[in-house]
Structure formats: C-alpha cells, structure tokens
C-alpha cells in the first residue's frame, strides 16, 4: 500500500508514533499545544498526549532549551520545537556549550538524548531574521548530529531515528516543503543516520544536494539529461554523521561534482563537502569541485532580490554544462 502525505504530516506521524512507543518522550516549545505551531505541524498531538507531554513554553528560547538539556540528562527524551531556525542564535550556549559537550566532558557518564527540530529556507518573503539556513553552524560543533530531510519520506524516517538516538540531534526542515507530498509507507520504518541516498544515477557529474536543494538538483538533472549530460544526484540525508563513502564513489565515477546547500556559501556545508572531495578524490577529478550555497548577504525582503540569493535549477544546469565542457566556473 502506498500513499502520499505531506512533510508536515510525516513529521507529526513520526513524533506521535515515538511518543506512543516511549513514554519518556516529551515535546516543548512555543505554541506547540493547541496552536500546533504556526506551521500546524504538531496539530492533534496535545489532544492525544496531553499538556504534560506537549508543553507550551513562554517565548524564552534559551530557557526551554536549557530545560530540555536538563530533562534529557535525567531520564526524559525531549523534543524541542524551535519555531524558526534563525532563533538558533538565541540558544547557542545551551545547544553548543551544554548539550553538545556534556557526554564528552563527563567522560561518557551523562547522556543528552534530545531532538531539536527547527527549520530553514528562504524565498518565503520573511526577510533576514526568519529565512536563514544555519545548518553549517550546528554541524561545526562536535557532539551534535544534524539531519536534513529532503522529502516527507525522509522527514518521517529521520525523525524517528533522531528520537531514539542517545545524542542531541538537530533536524532542519525546509519550511517551504511542509505541504509537499511524497510517498510514505503505512508501515513503520526508520532511516539510519550516515547513509546517503542516491536519488538519481548518472555518469557525467555528481550533484550533492541537501534538503530542498535535492529538488533543485533533480530538476537540473532532468534538464541536463535532454542535453545528454547525465547527472547523479546524491542526498546525504545527515551532515553529521556524514556518508563520505557514497559521495566519493560517485565522484570517482563521474569525475565532476557540484555541491548545493541553502546555507551561506562561505565557510559552509558546500565548502566542507567540496574540500573532502578534493582531498580524497583529487586524482579522479576532471574539474574543480563547485560550491553552490546562498549568497553571502543577509536574506533580503524584496522578492526581486531574495530569489537571486539561493541556488536554482538553471544555475546548477549552467555550472554543470561548463564543467562538463572543461570550462572554469570561477575565473581566477
């Protein structure tokens, strides 16, 4: 039996299933109960699990993040709902100095099994403080796992794995994808961390893409196929742990790679993945590895400006054409 559900519904199902399975799972954040979050992702959960488990907090992100860390250290498995990824800057101490380091600093004695679910993604006309994609910031910190679902299927399977993980896991959902539908089995499934998904096989160029950029890469691959350029599309699904092997194998086959992520390009996810490919598959490469991130500007409000800050299928196609023709994308 196959069915199509939205990414939003997939996240909701994952959380509900895990809360039924494990009574130590609780969820806290702003407007998570009756409101079910502004994106309505959590609608219905408070009716099933009650106010003791679906906990509305004041607008105090560092406070409830810290509370989640302490609850995780003492027997609960909290899911923290951070309404916008941009608010990560508010909770950096609790996430990066406390949650991420506790297991290590205690010599392995204390665990912090918590999930921080938040979002990312521009082009929603939400301007600079509600549009950022801050996954690089989090992936930089040892002790945090980072998952980036690219569809409803991934969103459900990765969320279930995250809730069962004994470490702090940050899940970035692209807020533009909440209503996107995908095939999601009725039966239970989990998606393991650190296993990339080859979305489309190809020979000429590898497109490594995260979250909604997987759709961008797939559209680009479709266009390129009409020009006899065969692109392989790979979704790492988790940045930490990172499935380097699958990506290196692909690049060894195609000899070219473009890395696409919606975070800012400089010092970002694309830079890290490109560096690993360059270090470990250098002699298999026929062209420099190309990074495609968001422009290094705060996300502008005006649609005329915002739309040009993020990678697009046309941009990927253009870069793929050039490297397949042996041209440089970026002149020295």
């Amino acid at each position: 039996m196959t069915r199509q559900i939205t990414l939003s519904k997939a996240v909701n199902e994952a959380i509900a299933e895990e809360m039924r399975r494990d009574p130590s799972v609780i969820l806290l954040g702003e407007d998570v109960a009756e409101a079910g979050t502004p994106f309505k992702v959590l609608s219905g959960l408070v009716e099933e699990f009650g106010m003791d488990r679906i906990i509305d907090t004041p607008i105090s992100e560092p406070g409830f993040m810290g509370i989640a860390v302490g609850a995780a250290m003492t027997g609960c498995r909290p899911i923290v709902d951070l309404m916008f990824g941009d608010f990560l800057y508010l909770i950096m101490d609790q996430l990066c100095n406390q949650a991420a380091k506790t297991h290590y600093m205690s010599g392995g004695k204390l665990n912090v099994p918590l999930v921080l679910r938040t979002n990312m993604g521009a082009t929603r006309r939400s301007a600079a403080q509600h549009s950022q994609s801050l996954q690089a910031l989090v992936a930089h910190v040892p002790g945090l796992k980072v998952a980036m679902p690219s569809s409803a299927y991934e969103a459900k399977g990765l969320m279930k794995t995250a809730i069962r993980d004994n470490n702090p896991v940050v899940i970035f959902e692209d807020k533009l994808m909440y209503n996107d539908k995908a095939e999601v089995p009725e039966e239970e499934y989990l998606i393991p961390f650190g296993k990339a998904n080859i979305k489309r096989e190809g020979r000429d160029v590898t497109l490594v893409a995260t979250s909604s950029m997987v759709q961008v890469a797939e559209k680009a691959a479709e266009i390129l196929s009409r020009e006899n350029i065969s692109a392989e599309v790979i979704d790492p699904r988790t940045l930490v742990p990172f499935d380097e092997e699958t990506i290196l194998q692909s690049v060894k086959k195609t000899s070219r790679a473009i890395v696409i992520d919606e975070g800012h390009q400089s010092f970002g996810v694309t830079a890290e993945i490109a560096a690993r490919i360059s270090e470990k598959a250098f002699y298999h490469l026929d062209a420099p590895v190309i990074r495609m991130g968001a422009m290094d500007v705060p996300v502008p409000f005006s649609p005329a400006l915002e739309d040009i800050t993020v990678p697009t299928p046309d941009g990927v196609v253009e870069n793929a054409r050039r490297i397949c023709r042996g041209e440089l994308v970026h002149a020295a």
Binding site: G63, G66, Q98, M105, N167
Partner: protein, 327 residues
C-alpha cells in the same frame, strides 16, 4: 539550633566542611607548584553553603554546580581520589580527565556537573526538576550559582517556567560579594530576593557561614519541594577566601586584605561550627584536631595517588563525542 539533631549528623557536617577545605588547600598547592594543568577556582570560605544544603539531600537528589564547584562535589558525596585525578587530567578521574576542575560531574551521587559558563546550568537544573515532576520521581534539584550569575537572563527565563509549572527546584545563590573581580554591589541593582519574588517564588536569605542555619532551611525547603510547593530561592551570604581563581593573587585593587582577614577571623564556617560543637560538649578540641589531621592525611594520600596515576590513553581523545545508541 535545630536542624539535624544527632551527633553523627553534626560530625558529618563538620567533617565534610573540613574535607572541602583540605581539598582546596591541596588543589591550591598543586597549582602553586605547577603540578596542575590549567587553573582552578577555590571554594574555601563557602563550605557551610555546600555542606548545609547537600546534607539536606539524598543521593537521588540532583545538584548543578559552577566553576567554583569542588565544594559542591565533595558535599554531594564525591571521593578525593577521583576528584584529584580529574583535576590532574588522569584516566581515573570522574570524567576520565576530559572535564577537569570546571566540569566535574558525579552522576552516581546526583551531581549533574560543574559548569564553566556563569549561569550555564540554570536551565539544566530546572530541566532536572521537570523530569522529576513528569516522571514522578521524588528527586529535588538544587541549582548552585554565584551572585555574578544573577546577571544572566537565563535565570529569569527558567524561574518563570519553574514557577508556572511548580517545579521541585531550589535556586541557591551563593553571594560571596564578588562577581569575578567586581563588587556585587556594582553589578546588581535592587535586591536578589525581590527578583525571585517577582515570579511568585518564595525567597529566603540566610547566613551562609552558619552550617546549621543553612541546613535547617534546606531541609525544610527540600521537603516542601517534594510536596509540590517548589520552586524556592535562597540567597546565602558568604565569602570566598581566595581570588576569583588561584592566579588572582594581587587583588588589593578590588578587595582589601583587612576585609579578607576579618571574614577569616570572625566568620569562618569551620572554626565557628567547631566552637559550637565544643560549647555543646559534642566534641573536644583534641577530637576536632584529630579529625582535621585524619582528613588532611587522606587528602595528601589522594594527591600522591593522583600524581602517580595514569593519563588516559591517547586513543580516548575521540571517545565519548557521541553516546552509543542501541540498534
């Protein structure tokens, strides 16, 4: 003088305070003789706070501690050997040498860890109290922090939630008069108790040099927390004998030597409790000296042990970044 009423309890409180002082004296010597990596923050002078409170707790109860945390750790039941090993970065330390002085955690005794971010554990303590309430365990959590930490916004956020949700947590502010190198009066407007009271939290102020007064209050508030009457706030007036850290030696510019010697002479928690024990004919002066000697020998033996102990194998550097998750 009520609080704990039998001789055994009094002796234990005395011993625990002496143990903290002995631990710190040795830690200071390790620093001064360059045998300890890094630096550390001495708890000496504040012993009655940690002991008065922790003697009101069971090993199931939790504490969160601070950069000035050795006293809390000893008072909550830790052993000298594992503590000195941790201070020296040795494999047998409480955290296998990975935490050091500012991050000692002893989860077996309910110590959720010291914290090197001022005020950084206020959320953790409150979360531990949320666990107690949600999971139905009866543990009470005490959040130790200094007066300096009252300037952190996190405290107000978590007090608000603790009060809204009636959590079994006690916020224990050790006001030692100095926020690092600055007088508390220069960084704290108004009154600290009034800040807690603004959230509807019952607030108390107590002489933090009087172990019996601290213990009596802590016992009463702990029991009330277990009955669902928390949270509470306590401001404990106390004094740190050393500088902000062991390297803060020339400190005349912010604190006079006269002030320091006055506190040591008149308000030392160990001397004063010792005197009381003698006045009450619970102990003789000789018996107290015996205790001091025995503890001092224990501490020295633990230091010797720790100095000779093994460093962790270099392979441990990448262990414990992530916890295992059963498949």
């Amino acid at each position: 003088m009520s609080a704990k009423h039998n001789t055994e309890d009094y002796l234990r409180m005395y011993r625990q305070m002496v143990r903290i002082r002995a631990f710190e004296d040795n830690a200071n010597q390790l620093y001064l003789s360059a045998k300890m990596p890094g630096l550390t923050h001495m708890y000496s002078g504040q012993e009655a706070v940690a002991v008065g409170i922790c003697e009101a707790l069971t090993s199931e109860d939790k504490i969160t501690s601070t950069h000035r945390g050795h006293g809390h750790c000893v008072a909550k039941g830790a052993e000298f050997r594992e503590m000195f090993c941790e201070l020296l970065g040795k494999e047998e330390g409480y955290c296998r040498g990975k935490g050091g002085s500012m991050h000692i955690a002893d989860q077996a005794n309910g110590n959720l860890g010291a914290n090197a971010i001022v005020g950084g554990s206020m959320g953790i303590a409150t979360g531990s109290a949320l666990s107690a309430k949600y999971l139905g365990t009866s543990h009470v959590t005490v959040c130790f922090f200094g007066d300096g930490a009252t300037a952190q916004g996190l405290w107000y956020e978590v007090m608000n939630m603790a009060a809204l949700w009636k959590l079994p947590v006690i916020y224990a502010c050790e006001n030692n008069g100095y926020s690092e190198y600055t007088k508390t009066a220069e960084i704290a407007a108004g009154s600290l108790t009034a800040r807690a009271e603004a959230f509807g939290i019952e607030a108390h102020k107590v002489d933090g040099q009087d172990v019996l007064a601290v213990n009596e209050l802590a016992r009463s508030l702990t029991e009330r927390c277990r009955k669902g009457e928390g949270p509470f706030f306590i401001e404990l007036e106390t004094y740190r004998y050393h500088g902000h850290h062991v390297g803060d030696i020339n400190r005349d510019y912010y604190r006079s030597k006269d002030e320091e010697s006055e506190w040591k002479k008149v308000r030392d928690p160990i001397t004063n409790f010792g005197k009381w024990l003698m006045e009450q004919k619970i102990m003789t002066a000789d018996e107290l000296v015996e205790i001091d000697k025995e503890i001092s020998a224990d501490a020295e033996a633990a230091v010797t042990y720790a100095l000779d102990a093994k460093y962790p194998d270099v392979n441990e550097v990448s262990m414990h970044v992530f916890a295992e998750t059963a498949a």
